[in-house]
Subunit: 322 residues, 2 copies
Protein backbone atom coordinates (compact mmCIF):
# COMPACT_ATOMS: atom_id res chain seq x y z
CA UNK A 1 0.00 0.00 0.00
CA UNK A 2 2.13 2.89 -1.24
CA UNK A 3 0.03 6.08 -1.56
CA UNK A 4 1.08 9.62 -0.82
CA UNK A 5 2.37 10.99 2.46
CA UNK A 6 -0.06 11.36 5.36
CA UNK A 7 0.34 14.15 7.86
CA UNK A 8 -1.38 13.56 11.20
CA UNK A 9 -1.27 16.76 13.26
CA UNK A 10 -2.19 16.78 16.96
CA UNK A 11 -3.95 20.17 16.83
CA UNK A 12 -2.82 23.73 17.54
CA UNK A 13 -0.03 23.65 14.95
CA UNK A 14 2.04 26.83 14.89
CA UNK A 15 0.47 29.22 12.35
CA UNK A 16 2.29 32.45 13.17
CA UNK A 17 6.00 31.80 13.71
CA UNK A 18 8.11 29.11 12.08
CA UNK A 19 5.13 27.13 10.76
CA UNK A 20 7.33 24.02 10.55
CA UNK A 21 4.46 21.65 10.02
CA UNK A 22 2.34 23.66 7.58
CA UNK A 23 5.49 24.51 5.58
CA UNK A 24 6.24 20.77 5.31
CA UNK A 25 2.65 20.10 4.25
CA UNK A 26 2.97 22.56 1.36
CA UNK A 27 6.36 21.11 0.37
CA UNK A 28 4.96 17.56 0.36
CA UNK A 29 2.00 18.78 -1.70
CA UNK A 30 4.30 20.01 -4.45
CA UNK A 31 5.58 23.36 -3.18
CA UNK A 32 5.14 25.98 -5.93
CA UNK A 33 3.06 23.48 -7.91
CA UNK A 34 0.79 22.63 -4.96
CA UNK A 35 -2.97 22.66 -5.56
CA UNK A 36 -4.43 22.31 -2.08
CA UNK A 37 -8.02 21.44 -1.22
CA UNK A 38 -9.03 22.56 2.28
CA UNK A 39 -11.88 20.62 3.90
CA UNK A 40 -13.26 22.58 6.88
CA UNK A 41 -16.36 20.41 7.39
CA UNK A 42 -15.42 19.49 10.99
CA UNK A 43 -15.36 23.13 11.99
CA UNK A 44 -18.32 25.10 13.31
CA UNK A 45 -16.60 28.35 12.37
CA UNK A 46 -17.58 30.34 9.31
CA UNK A 47 -15.47 31.25 6.24
CA UNK A 48 -12.71 32.63 8.55
CA UNK A 49 -11.27 29.15 9.17
CA UNK A 50 -10.86 28.74 5.41
CA UNK A 51 -9.39 32.22 5.04
CA UNK A 52 -6.68 31.42 7.59
CA UNK A 53 -5.53 28.24 5.85
CA UNK A 54 -5.90 29.85 2.46
CA UNK A 55 -3.60 32.69 3.55
CA UNK A 56 -1.15 30.28 5.22
CA UNK A 57 -0.79 27.91 2.30
CA UNK A 58 -0.42 30.77 -0.19
CA UNK A 59 2.15 32.44 2.08
CA UNK A 60 4.09 29.19 2.01
CA UNK A 61 4.06 29.26 -1.77
CA UNK A 62 1.20 26.97 -2.82
CA UNK A 63 -0.03 27.70 -6.37
CA UNK A 64 -3.75 27.21 -5.67
CA UNK A 65 -5.95 26.77 -2.59
CA UNK A 66 -9.58 25.67 -2.93
CA UNK A 67 -12.32 25.09 -0.39
CA UNK A 68 -14.22 21.82 -0.35
CA UNK A 69 -16.89 22.26 2.29
CA UNK A 70 -19.79 19.83 2.18
CA UNK A 71 -22.18 20.46 5.08
CA UNK A 72 -24.40 17.43 4.47
CA UNK A 73 -24.06 13.98 2.91
CA UNK A 74 -26.01 15.30 -0.05
CA UNK A 75 -23.48 18.07 -0.61
CA UNK A 76 -20.74 15.46 -0.21
CA UNK A 77 -21.98 14.03 -3.51
CA UNK A 78 -21.45 17.34 -5.34
CA UNK A 79 -19.55 16.76 -8.58
CA UNK A 80 -17.74 20.07 -8.44
CA UNK A 81 -16.26 19.27 -5.02
CA UNK A 82 -15.21 15.81 -6.20
CA UNK A 83 -13.57 17.42 -9.21
CA UNK A 84 -11.61 19.82 -6.98
CA UNK A 85 -10.31 16.85 -4.98
CA UNK A 86 -9.49 15.04 -8.21
CA UNK A 87 -7.09 17.83 -9.21
CA UNK A 88 -5.59 18.37 -5.73
CA UNK A 89 -1.95 17.55 -4.97
CA UNK A 90 -2.67 18.14 -1.28
CA UNK A 91 -5.81 17.71 0.85
CA UNK A 92 -6.02 19.40 4.24
CA UNK A 93 -8.76 18.68 6.82
CA UNK A 94 -9.20 21.25 9.62
CA UNK A 95 -10.03 20.66 13.28
CA UNK A 96 -13.49 20.69 14.79
CA UNK A 97 -15.87 17.82 15.45
CA UNK A 98 -14.57 14.59 13.93
CA UNK A 99 -17.96 12.89 14.13
CA UNK A 100 -19.45 15.72 12.07
CA UNK A 101 -16.64 15.24 9.53
CA UNK A 102 -16.96 11.45 9.39
CA UNK A 103 -20.75 11.36 9.35
CA UNK A 104 -20.91 13.85 6.47
CA UNK A 105 -17.94 12.64 4.44
CA UNK A 106 -17.27 8.91 4.96
CA UNK A 107 -18.81 6.66 2.33
CA UNK A 108 -19.69 9.55 0.00
CA UNK A 109 -18.12 10.62 -3.32
CA UNK A 110 -16.13 13.31 -1.44
CA UNK A 111 -14.88 10.71 1.08
CA UNK A 112 -13.94 8.36 -1.76
CA UNK A 113 -12.17 11.23 -3.53
CA UNK A 114 -9.99 11.86 -0.43
CA UNK A 115 -8.99 8.19 -0.35
CA UNK A 116 -8.35 8.28 -4.11
CA UNK A 117 -6.18 11.39 -3.72
CA UNK A 118 -4.05 9.52 -1.16
CA UNK A 119 -3.82 6.49 -3.41
CA UNK A 120 -2.64 8.47 -6.43
CA UNK A 121 0.14 10.03 -4.30
CA UNK A 122 -1.30 13.35 -3.11
CA UNK A 123 -0.39 14.49 0.38
CA UNK A 124 -3.32 14.15 2.79
CA UNK A 125 -3.05 15.99 6.08
CA UNK A 126 -5.26 17.14 8.88
CA UNK A 127 -5.17 18.61 12.34
CA UNK A 128 -7.10 17.51 15.42
CA UNK A 129 -10.42 16.17 14.03
CA UNK A 130 -8.70 16.10 10.63
CA UNK A 131 -6.00 13.88 12.16
CA UNK A 132 -8.37 11.45 13.87
CA UNK A 133 -10.39 10.73 10.76
CA UNK A 134 -7.33 9.42 8.90
CA UNK A 135 -7.22 6.22 11.00
CA UNK A 136 -9.29 3.13 10.38
CA UNK A 137 -10.78 3.46 13.87
CA UNK A 138 -11.50 6.93 15.14
CA UNK A 139 -12.00 8.24 18.68
CA UNK A 140 -14.75 10.74 19.32
CA UNK A 141 -15.66 12.59 22.48
CA UNK A 142 -14.57 11.40 25.90
CA UNK A 143 -12.77 12.37 29.08
CA UNK A 144 -9.16 12.92 30.09
CA UNK A 145 -7.17 11.02 32.71
CA UNK A 146 -4.13 8.73 32.86
CA UNK A 147 -5.82 5.56 34.08
CA UNK A 148 -7.91 3.55 31.61
CA UNK A 149 -11.55 2.90 32.53
CA UNK A 150 -14.56 1.64 30.57
CA UNK A 151 -16.38 4.10 28.29
CA UNK A 152 -13.89 6.95 28.63
CA UNK A 153 -14.41 7.53 24.91
CA UNK A 154 -16.14 5.95 21.94
CA UNK A 155 -14.96 4.66 18.61
CA UNK A 156 -16.33 5.29 15.12
CA UNK A 157 -15.02 4.32 11.68
CA UNK A 158 -12.58 6.72 10.02
CA UNK A 159 -11.33 7.04 6.45
CA UNK A 160 -8.85 4.19 6.95
CA UNK A 161 -5.85 5.90 5.36
CA UNK A 162 -3.71 4.58 8.24
CA UNK A 163 -4.93 0.99 8.61
CA UNK A 164 -4.93 -0.93 11.91
CA UNK A 165 -4.46 2.25 13.90
CA UNK A 166 -6.47 4.40 16.24
CA UNK A 167 -5.37 8.04 16.42
CA UNK A 168 -5.86 10.45 19.30
CA UNK A 169 -4.78 14.10 19.30
CA UNK A 170 -4.07 16.92 21.82
CA UNK A 171 -2.49 13.91 23.55
CA UNK A 172 -0.27 15.51 26.16
CA UNK A 173 -2.32 18.67 26.58
CA UNK A 174 -5.56 16.81 27.40
CA UNK A 175 -4.02 13.89 29.32
CA UNK A 176 -5.33 11.14 27.06
CA UNK A 177 -3.26 8.11 28.09
CA UNK A 178 -6.27 6.58 29.84
CA UNK A 179 -8.68 6.67 26.94
CA UNK A 180 -6.14 5.47 24.37
CA UNK A 181 -5.14 2.60 26.69
CA UNK A 182 -8.83 1.71 27.09
CA UNK A 183 -9.25 1.52 23.32
CA UNK A 184 -6.18 -0.66 22.66
CA UNK A 185 -7.06 -2.91 25.62
CA UNK A 186 -10.44 -3.57 23.99
CA UNK A 187 -9.01 -3.84 20.44
CA UNK A 188 -5.48 -5.21 20.77
CA UNK A 189 -5.09 -5.62 17.01
CA UNK A 190 -4.91 -1.83 16.76
CA UNK A 191 -1.86 0.35 17.32
CA UNK A 192 -2.68 3.36 19.49
CA UNK A 193 -1.22 6.67 18.29
CA UNK A 194 -1.37 9.81 20.43
CA UNK A 195 -0.16 13.03 18.81
CA UNK A 196 0.73 16.12 20.89
CA UNK A 197 -0.22 19.63 19.85
CA UNK A 198 2.03 21.44 17.32
CA UNK A 199 3.39 18.02 16.36
CA UNK A 200 2.85 15.84 13.32
CA UNK A 201 3.21 12.15 12.62
CA UNK A 202 4.26 11.88 9.00
CA UNK A 203 3.47 8.46 7.54
CA UNK A 204 5.10 7.53 4.25
CA UNK A 205 5.94 4.09 2.82
CA UNK A 206 5.09 2.44 6.14
CA UNK A 207 7.49 4.62 8.12
CA UNK A 208 6.30 7.11 10.72
CA UNK A 209 8.48 10.12 11.39
CA UNK A 210 7.91 13.02 13.75
CA UNK A 211 7.99 16.78 13.15
CA UNK A 212 7.26 19.52 15.66
CA UNK A 213 7.49 20.61 19.24
CA UNK A 214 5.90 17.64 21.06
CA UNK A 215 5.98 13.87 20.75
CA UNK A 216 4.05 11.05 19.10
CA UNK A 217 3.22 8.34 21.63
CA UNK A 218 2.58 4.81 20.35
CA UNK A 219 0.88 2.12 22.44
CA UNK A 220 1.53 -1.36 21.05
CA UNK A 221 -0.85 -3.81 22.76
CA UNK A 222 0.21 -6.94 20.79
CA UNK A 223 1.26 -8.73 24.00
CA UNK A 224 -1.33 -7.23 26.35
CA UNK A 225 -3.00 -9.07 29.21
CA UNK A 226 -6.28 -7.33 29.98
CA UNK A 227 -9.62 -7.70 31.74
CA UNK A 228 -11.30 -5.16 29.45
CA UNK A 229 -14.06 -7.63 28.64
CA UNK A 230 -15.24 -7.87 32.23
CA UNK A 231 -14.06 -4.83 34.21
CA UNK A 232 -16.80 -2.86 35.92
CA UNK A 233 -17.58 0.61 34.63
CA UNK A 234 -15.88 2.63 37.35
CA UNK A 235 -12.89 0.34 37.94
CA UNK A 236 -9.57 0.87 36.18
CA UNK A 237 -8.78 -1.65 33.46
CA UNK A 238 -5.95 -4.13 33.71
CA UNK A 239 -3.56 -3.43 30.83
CA UNK A 240 -0.32 -5.31 31.39
CA UNK A 241 2.48 -5.65 28.84
CA UNK A 242 1.69 -2.73 26.55
CA UNK A 243 4.84 -1.54 24.78
CA UNK A 244 5.20 2.22 24.84
CA UNK A 245 7.15 4.41 22.40
CA UNK A 246 7.47 8.16 22.98
CA UNK A 247 8.89 9.61 19.75
CA UNK A 248 10.20 13.17 19.49
CA UNK A 249 11.14 15.03 16.32
CA UNK A 250 13.69 13.12 14.29
CA UNK A 251 12.57 9.69 15.45
CA UNK A 252 11.53 7.19 12.76
CA UNK A 253 9.39 4.13 13.41
CA UNK A 254 8.63 1.13 11.19
CA UNK A 255 4.86 0.63 11.43
CA UNK A 256 4.96 -2.91 9.98
CA UNK A 257 7.50 -4.35 12.43
CA UNK A 258 6.58 -1.85 15.18
CA UNK A 259 10.19 -1.04 15.91
CA UNK A 260 12.20 2.13 16.18
CA UNK A 261 14.50 2.74 13.20
CA UNK A 262 18.10 3.81 13.92
CA UNK A 263 17.91 7.15 15.64
CA UNK A 264 20.14 9.57 13.78
CA UNK A 265 21.62 12.32 15.91
CA UNK A 266 22.28 15.50 13.99
CA UNK A 267 25.83 16.67 14.62
CA UNK A 268 26.92 20.28 14.32
CA UNK A 269 29.67 20.59 11.59
CA UNK A 270 32.06 22.55 13.89
CA UNK A 271 31.60 19.95 16.61
CA UNK A 272 32.19 17.18 14.06
CA UNK A 273 35.51 18.80 13.01
CA UNK A 274 36.63 19.09 16.65
CA UNK A 275 35.70 15.46 17.30
CA UNK A 276 37.69 14.43 14.24
CA UNK A 277 40.79 16.29 15.45
CA UNK A 278 40.47 14.88 18.97
CA UNK A 279 40.27 11.45 17.39
CA UNK A 280 43.48 12.01 15.38
CA UNK A 281 45.26 13.19 18.56
CA UNK A 282 44.18 10.11 20.47
CA UNK A 283 45.28 7.77 17.67
CA UNK A 284 48.71 9.45 17.65
CA UNK A 285 48.93 9.13 21.46
CA UNK A 286 48.06 5.45 21.21
CA UNK A 287 50.84 4.91 18.63
CA UNK A 288 53.33 6.80 20.84
CA UNK A 289 52.38 4.77 23.91
CA UNK A 290 52.72 1.57 21.89
CA UNK A 291 56.21 2.71 20.81
CA UNK A 292 56.67 3.26 24.58
CA UNK A 293 59.72 5.50 24.37
CA UNK A 294 57.86 8.47 25.76
CA UNK A 295 56.46 9.37 29.17
CA UNK A 296 52.95 10.93 29.31
CA UNK A 297 54.43 14.39 29.99
CA UNK A 298 56.62 14.18 26.87
CA UNK A 299 53.55 13.15 24.89
CA UNK A 300 51.55 16.07 26.20
CA UNK A 301 54.27 18.52 25.17
CA UNK A 302 54.48 16.97 21.72
CA UNK A 303 50.70 17.24 21.36
CA UNK A 304 50.84 20.92 22.30
CA UNK A 305 53.49 21.60 19.64
CA UNK A 306 51.46 19.84 16.98
CA UNK A 307 48.35 21.83 17.87
CA UNK A 308 50.22 25.16 17.84
CA UNK A 309 51.62 24.34 14.41
CA UNK A 310 48.18 23.42 13.17
CA UNK A 311 46.63 26.62 14.58
CA UNK A 312 49.30 28.63 12.72
CA UNK A 313 48.45 26.86 9.49
CA UNK A 314 44.74 27.57 10.04
CA UNK A 315 45.43 31.27 10.55
CA UNK A 316 47.27 31.41 7.25
CA UNK A 317 44.38 29.68 5.56
CA UNK A 318 41.92 32.13 7.16
CA UNK A 319 44.15 34.97 5.96
CA UNK A 320 43.90 33.73 2.40
CA UNK A 321 40.15 33.88 2.59
CA UNK A 322 39.97 37.30 4.23
CA UNK B 1 15.12 -9.73 51.50
CA UNK B 2 11.96 -10.77 53.32
CA UNK B 3 10.83 -7.99 55.70
CA UNK B 4 7.31 -6.92 56.56
CA UNK B 5 4.63 -5.71 54.18
CA UNK B 6 5.01 -2.28 52.58
CA UNK B 7 2.00 -0.18 51.77
CA UNK B 8 2.57 2.53 49.17
CA UNK B 9 -0.48 4.79 49.02
CA UNK B 10 -0.92 7.33 46.20
CA UNK B 11 -2.42 10.04 48.43
CA UNK B 12 -6.00 11.03 49.31
CA UNK B 13 -6.90 7.60 50.68
CA UNK B 14 -10.54 7.33 51.75
CA UNK B 15 -10.77 8.28 55.44
CA UNK B 16 -14.53 8.67 55.88
CA UNK B 17 -16.36 5.84 54.13
CA UNK B 18 -15.16 2.30 53.60
CA UNK B 19 -11.51 3.08 54.51
CA UNK B 20 -10.40 0.00 52.56
CA UNK B 21 -6.74 0.92 52.59
CA UNK B 22 -6.38 2.16 56.16
CA UNK B 23 -8.35 -0.86 57.41
CA UNK B 24 -5.89 -3.13 55.59
CA UNK B 25 -2.95 -1.22 57.09
CA UNK B 26 -4.25 -1.84 60.64
CA UNK B 27 -4.90 -5.51 59.84
CA UNK B 28 -1.37 -5.96 58.47
CA UNK B 29 0.01 -4.19 61.56
CA UNK B 30 -1.57 -6.78 63.87
CA UNK B 31 -5.23 -5.71 64.11
CA UNK B 32 -6.23 -5.63 67.79
CA UNK B 33 -2.56 -6.05 68.75
CA UNK B 34 -1.36 -3.24 66.49
CA UNK B 35 0.98 -0.65 67.99
CA UNK B 36 1.21 2.03 65.31
CA UNK B 37 3.79 4.81 65.12
CA UNK B 38 2.60 7.77 63.02
CA UNK B 39 5.35 9.92 61.46
CA UNK B 40 3.88 13.27 60.32
CA UNK B 41 7.23 14.95 59.66
CA UNK B 42 6.43 15.61 55.98
CA UNK B 43 3.35 17.61 56.92
CA UNK B 44 3.25 21.32 57.58
CA UNK B 45 -0.01 20.93 59.50
CA UNK B 46 -0.14 21.03 63.28
CA UNK B 47 -1.25 18.29 65.70
CA UNK B 48 -4.54 17.92 63.77
CA UNK B 49 -2.91 15.66 61.15
CA UNK B 50 -1.86 13.32 63.96
CA UNK B 51 -5.29 13.48 65.58
CA UNK B 52 -6.95 12.34 62.36
CA UNK B 53 -4.75 9.26 61.92
CA UNK B 54 -4.87 8.54 65.65
CA UNK B 55 -8.68 8.54 65.54
CA UNK B 56 -8.74 6.48 62.32
CA UNK B 57 -6.37 3.76 63.46
CA UNK B 58 -8.10 3.46 66.85
CA UNK B 59 -11.50 3.33 65.11
CA UNK B 60 -10.16 0.43 63.04
CA UNK B 61 -9.21 -1.38 66.26
CA UNK B 62 -5.48 -0.67 66.74
CA UNK B 63 -4.37 -1.17 70.36
CA UNK B 64 -1.98 1.81 70.52
CA UNK B 65 -1.15 4.79 68.34
CA UNK B 66 1.93 6.93 69.03
CA UNK B 67 3.32 10.03 67.35
CA UNK B 68 6.94 10.10 66.20
CA UNK B 69 7.49 13.63 64.92
CA UNK B 70 11.08 14.77 64.58
CA UNK B 71 11.24 18.29 63.11
CA UNK B 72 15.04 18.40 62.72
CA UNK B 73 17.88 15.92 62.20
CA UNK B 74 18.81 16.49 65.84
CA UNK B 75 15.36 15.45 67.01
CA UNK B 76 15.62 12.45 64.66
CA UNK B 77 18.32 11.21 67.06
CA UNK B 78 15.93 11.27 70.04
CA UNK B 79 16.11 7.97 71.93
CA UNK B 80 12.47 8.07 72.99
CA UNK B 81 11.32 8.29 69.35
CA UNK B 82 13.65 5.45 68.35
CA UNK B 83 12.24 3.38 71.21
CA UNK B 84 8.66 3.99 70.03
CA UNK B 85 9.63 2.77 66.57
CA UNK B 86 11.38 -0.22 68.16
CA UNK B 87 8.09 -1.37 69.70
CA UNK B 88 5.88 -0.58 66.72
CA UNK B 89 4.15 -3.30 64.71
CA UNK B 90 3.13 -0.68 62.14
CA UNK B 91 4.78 2.57 60.96
CA UNK B 92 2.72 5.11 59.02
CA UNK B 93 4.19 8.16 57.27
CA UNK B 94 1.76 10.95 56.33
CA UNK B 95 1.73 13.15 53.25
CA UNK B 96 3.37 16.54 52.91
CA UNK B 97 6.79 17.46 51.57
CA UNK B 98 8.88 14.36 50.88
CA UNK B 99 12.13 16.34 50.75
CA UNK B 100 11.41 17.64 54.26
CA UNK B 101 10.78 14.05 55.40
CA UNK B 102 13.88 12.63 53.72
CA UNK B 103 16.21 15.44 54.72
CA UNK B 104 15.18 15.20 58.38
CA UNK B 105 14.90 11.42 58.68
CA UNK B 106 17.19 9.61 56.23
CA UNK B 107 20.50 8.53 57.72
CA UNK B 108 19.45 9.27 61.31
CA UNK B 109 18.56 6.89 64.17
CA UNK B 110 14.86 7.45 63.42
CA UNK B 111 15.45 6.65 59.72
CA UNK B 112 17.41 3.53 60.66
CA UNK B 113 14.63 2.51 63.07
CA UNK B 114 12.05 2.66 60.24
CA UNK B 115 14.24 0.39 58.11
CA UNK B 116 14.78 -1.91 61.10
CA UNK B 117 11.02 -2.07 61.76
CA UNK B 118 10.50 -3.21 58.15
CA UNK B 119 13.27 -5.78 58.44
CA UNK B 120 11.86 -7.35 61.59
CA UNK B 121 8.45 -7.75 59.90
CA UNK B 122 6.48 -4.68 60.94
CA UNK B 123 4.15 -3.15 58.35
CA UNK B 124 5.50 0.13 56.95
CA UNK B 125 3.05 2.31 55.07
CA UNK B 126 2.75 5.85 53.89
CA UNK B 127 0.66 8.11 51.72
CA UNK B 128 1.84 10.64 49.12
CA UNK B 129 5.19 11.91 50.50
CA UNK B 130 5.12 8.91 52.85
CA UNK B 131 4.82 6.66 49.78
CA UNK B 132 7.61 8.28 47.76
CA UNK B 133 10.18 7.98 50.52
CA UNK B 134 9.88 4.18 50.60
CA UNK B 135 11.67 3.78 47.26
CA UNK B 136 15.42 3.75 46.79
CA UNK B 137 15.12 6.73 44.45
CA UNK B 138 12.59 9.38 45.31
CA UNK B 139 10.94 12.05 43.14
CA UNK B 140 10.49 15.51 44.58
CA UNK B 141 8.75 18.54 43.10
CA UNK B 142 8.13 18.88 39.40
CA UNK B 143 5.50 19.49 36.78
CA UNK B 144 2.68 17.47 35.26
CA UNK B 145 2.25 16.45 31.62
CA UNK B 146 2.16 13.26 29.57
CA UNK B 147 5.24 13.80 27.44
CA UNK B 148 8.68 13.32 29.04
CA UNK B 149 11.08 16.27 28.91
CA UNK B 150 14.34 17.09 30.70
CA UNK B 151 14.15 18.38 34.30
CA UNK B 152 10.41 17.84 34.75
CA UNK B 153 11.26 16.65 38.26
CA UNK B 154 14.28 15.84 40.39
CA UNK B 155 15.44 12.76 42.21
CA UNK B 156 16.69 12.35 45.78
CA UNK B 157 17.56 9.25 47.80
CA UNK B 158 14.73 7.59 49.72
CA UNK B 159 14.71 5.01 52.52
CA UNK B 160 15.26 2.17 50.05
CA UNK B 161 12.61 -0.18 51.41
CA UNK B 162 11.58 -0.93 47.81
CA UNK B 163 14.93 -1.34 46.05
CA UNK B 164 15.52 -0.54 42.39
CA UNK B 165 12.31 1.43 42.17
CA UNK B 166 11.22 5.01 41.80
CA UNK B 167 7.77 5.80 43.16
CA UNK B 168 5.45 8.61 42.10
CA UNK B 169 2.03 9.33 43.61
CA UNK B 170 -1.19 11.22 42.73
CA UNK B 171 -0.28 9.61 39.40
CA UNK B 172 -3.50 9.88 37.44
CA UNK B 173 -4.81 12.98 39.19
CA UNK B 174 -1.70 15.06 38.46
CA UNK B 175 -0.90 13.62 35.01
CA UNK B 176 2.58 12.34 35.87
CA UNK B 177 3.38 10.00 32.97
CA UNK B 178 5.88 12.49 31.57
CA UNK B 179 8.01 12.95 34.66
CA UNK B 180 8.09 9.24 35.52
CA UNK B 181 9.07 8.42 31.92
CA UNK B 182 11.82 11.03 32.13
CA UNK B 183 13.21 9.41 35.27
CA UNK B 184 13.24 5.84 33.94
CA UNK B 185 14.68 7.02 30.60
CA UNK B 186 17.61 8.51 32.52
CA UNK B 187 17.91 5.55 34.94
CA UNK B 188 16.79 2.46 33.07
CA UNK B 189 17.86 0.13 35.88
CA UNK B 190 14.93 1.46 37.91
CA UNK B 191 11.31 0.33 37.71
CA UNK B 192 8.92 3.29 37.62
CA UNK B 193 5.87 2.98 39.84
CA UNK B 194 2.98 5.49 39.67
CA UNK B 195 0.24 5.12 42.27
CA UNK B 196 -3.18 6.77 41.84
CA UNK B 197 -5.02 8.46 44.69
CA UNK B 198 -7.05 6.27 47.08
CA UNK B 199 -5.00 3.33 45.83
CA UNK B 200 -2.22 1.32 47.43
CA UNK B 201 0.56 -0.87 46.09
CA UNK B 202 1.09 -3.57 48.68
CA UNK B 203 4.55 -5.13 48.42
CA UNK B 204 5.17 -8.38 50.25
CA UNK B 205 7.66 -11.16 49.51
CA UNK B 206 8.56 -9.58 46.18
CA UNK B 207 4.95 -9.51 44.97
CA UNK B 208 3.07 -6.28 44.36
CA UNK B 209 -0.70 -6.34 44.71
CA UNK B 210 -3.19 -3.52 44.35
CA UNK B 211 -5.94 -2.27 46.66
CA UNK B 212 -8.27 0.67 46.14
CA UNK B 213 -10.17 2.69 43.64
CA UNK B 214 -7.44 3.56 41.11
CA UNK B 215 -4.53 1.75 39.47
CA UNK B 216 -0.81 1.23 39.95
CA UNK B 217 1.08 1.97 36.73
CA UNK B 218 4.49 0.34 36.23
CA UNK B 219 6.99 1.52 33.61
CA UNK B 220 9.63 -1.12 32.88
CA UNK B 221 12.46 0.50 30.88
CA UNK B 222 14.74 -2.60 30.68
CA UNK B 223 14.62 -2.57 26.88
CA UNK B 224 14.38 1.19 26.35
CA UNK B 225 16.02 3.10 23.52
CA UNK B 226 16.44 6.71 24.60
CA UNK B 227 18.20 9.96 23.83
CA UNK B 228 17.88 11.16 27.44
CA UNK B 229 21.62 11.86 27.62
CA UNK B 230 21.55 14.43 24.85
CA UNK B 231 18.02 15.77 24.36
CA UNK B 232 17.66 19.52 24.62
CA UNK B 233 15.81 20.93 27.62
CA UNK B 234 12.56 21.85 25.92
CA UNK B 235 12.39 18.91 23.52
CA UNK B 236 10.49 15.73 24.35
CA UNK B 237 12.68 12.73 25.17
CA UNK B 238 12.83 9.65 22.99
CA UNK B 239 11.63 6.70 25.09
CA UNK B 240 11.01 3.71 22.85
CA UNK B 241 10.28 0.19 24.06
CA UNK B 242 9.13 0.88 27.61
CA UNK B 243 6.82 -1.89 28.82
CA UNK B 244 3.72 -0.55 30.53
CA UNK B 245 1.55 -2.31 33.12
CA UNK B 246 -1.65 -0.69 34.41
CA UNK B 247 -2.76 -2.75 37.42
CA UNK B 248 -6.18 -2.37 39.06
CA UNK B 249 -7.32 -3.87 42.36
CA UNK B 250 -6.85 -7.61 42.43
CA UNK B 251 -3.86 -7.63 40.06
CA UNK B 252 -0.63 -9.22 41.34
CA UNK B 253 2.81 -8.56 39.86
CA UNK B 254 6.14 -10.32 40.41
CA UNK B 255 8.70 -7.56 40.96
CA UNK B 256 11.72 -9.85 40.39
CA UNK B 257 10.65 -11.17 36.98
CA UNK B 258 8.57 -8.07 36.19
CA UNK B 259 5.62 -10.12 35.02
CA UNK B 260 1.94 -10.19 35.83
CA UNK B 261 0.89 -13.14 37.98
CA UNK B 262 -2.24 -15.07 36.97
CA UNK B 263 -5.14 -12.67 37.24
CA UNK B 264 -7.84 -14.28 39.35
CA UNK B 265 -11.35 -13.14 38.62
CA UNK B 266 -13.65 -13.22 41.63
CA UNK B 267 -16.85 -15.06 40.75
CA UNK B 268 -20.15 -14.41 42.47
CA UNK B 269 -21.35 -17.69 44.18
CA UNK B 270 -24.85 -17.48 42.62
CA UNK B 271 -23.28 -16.92 39.21
CA UNK B 272 -20.93 -19.85 39.81
CA UNK B 273 -23.90 -22.13 40.62
CA UNK B 274 -25.71 -21.01 37.45
CA UNK B 275 -22.57 -21.62 35.37
CA UNK B 276 -22.25 -25.09 36.89
CA UNK B 277 -25.85 -25.95 36.01
CA UNK B 278 -25.47 -24.60 32.46
CA UNK B 279 -22.36 -26.76 32.15
CA UNK B 280 -24.27 -29.89 33.22
CA UNK B 281 -27.04 -29.12 30.72
CA UNK B 282 -24.54 -28.71 27.90
CA UNK B 283 -22.78 -31.98 28.77
CA UNK B 284 -26.16 -33.78 28.71
CA UNK B 285 -26.99 -32.18 25.37
CA UNK B 286 -23.64 -33.29 23.97
CA UNK B 287 -24.32 -36.87 25.10
CA UNK B 288 -27.81 -36.78 23.56
CA UNK B 289 -26.46 -35.44 20.28
CA UNK B 290 -23.79 -38.13 20.28
CA UNK B 291 -26.54 -40.74 20.84
CA UNK B 292 -28.16 -38.90 17.89
CA UNK B 293 -31.66 -40.22 18.38
CA UNK B 294 -33.06 -36.82 19.24
CA UNK B 295 -33.68 -33.66 17.21
CA UNK B 296 -32.67 -30.28 18.76
CA UNK B 297 -36.33 -29.43 19.51
CA UNK B 298 -36.81 -32.71 21.41
CA UNK B 299 -33.63 -31.93 23.38
CA UNK B 300 -34.90 -28.45 24.24
CA UNK B 301 -38.17 -29.85 25.55
CA UNK B 302 -36.31 -32.41 27.65
CA UNK B 303 -34.04 -29.69 29.06
CA UNK B 304 -37.11 -27.61 30.01
CA UNK B 305 -38.64 -30.60 31.89
CA UNK B 306 -35.40 -31.24 33.81
CA UNK B 307 -35.17 -27.58 34.82
CA UNK B 308 -38.81 -27.46 35.97
CA UNK B 309 -38.26 -30.58 38.09
CA UNK B 310 -35.12 -29.04 39.59
CA UNK B 311 -36.90 -25.74 40.37
CA UNK B 312 -39.60 -27.71 42.25
CA UNK B 313 -36.96 -29.51 44.31
CA UNK B 314 -35.32 -26.14 45.16
CA UNK B 315 -38.62 -24.72 46.38
CA UNK B 316 -39.04 -27.67 48.73
CA UNK B 317 -35.56 -27.11 50.11
CA UNK B 318 -36.29 -23.39 50.60
CA UNK B 319 -39.48 -24.37 52.45
CA UNK B 320 -37.46 -26.46 54.89
CA UNK B 321 -35.36 -23.46 55.78
CA UNK B 322 -38.26 -20.99 56.14
Amino acid sequence: MPGGPLMIIGGAEDKLRRRRILKEFVALSGGPDARIAVIPTASSLGPEVVEVYDALFRAEGAAEVHTVRPESREEAGDEELVEQLGKATGVFMTGGNQLKLSSIVCGTPVGDAIVAAHERGACVGGTSAGASIQSSHMLAFGVGGSTPKQRMTQMAAGLGLVPGTVIDQHFEQRNRYGRLLMIVAQSPQLLGMGVDEDTAALVQDGVLSVIGRGAVTLLDPSSITTNAFEARRSAPLLASGVVLHVLPEGARFDLATRTLLPYGVEVDPTEAAEMEEAGRDLRQMARDIAASDASPSVLRRRLKRTRKKKAGADETTDGDHA
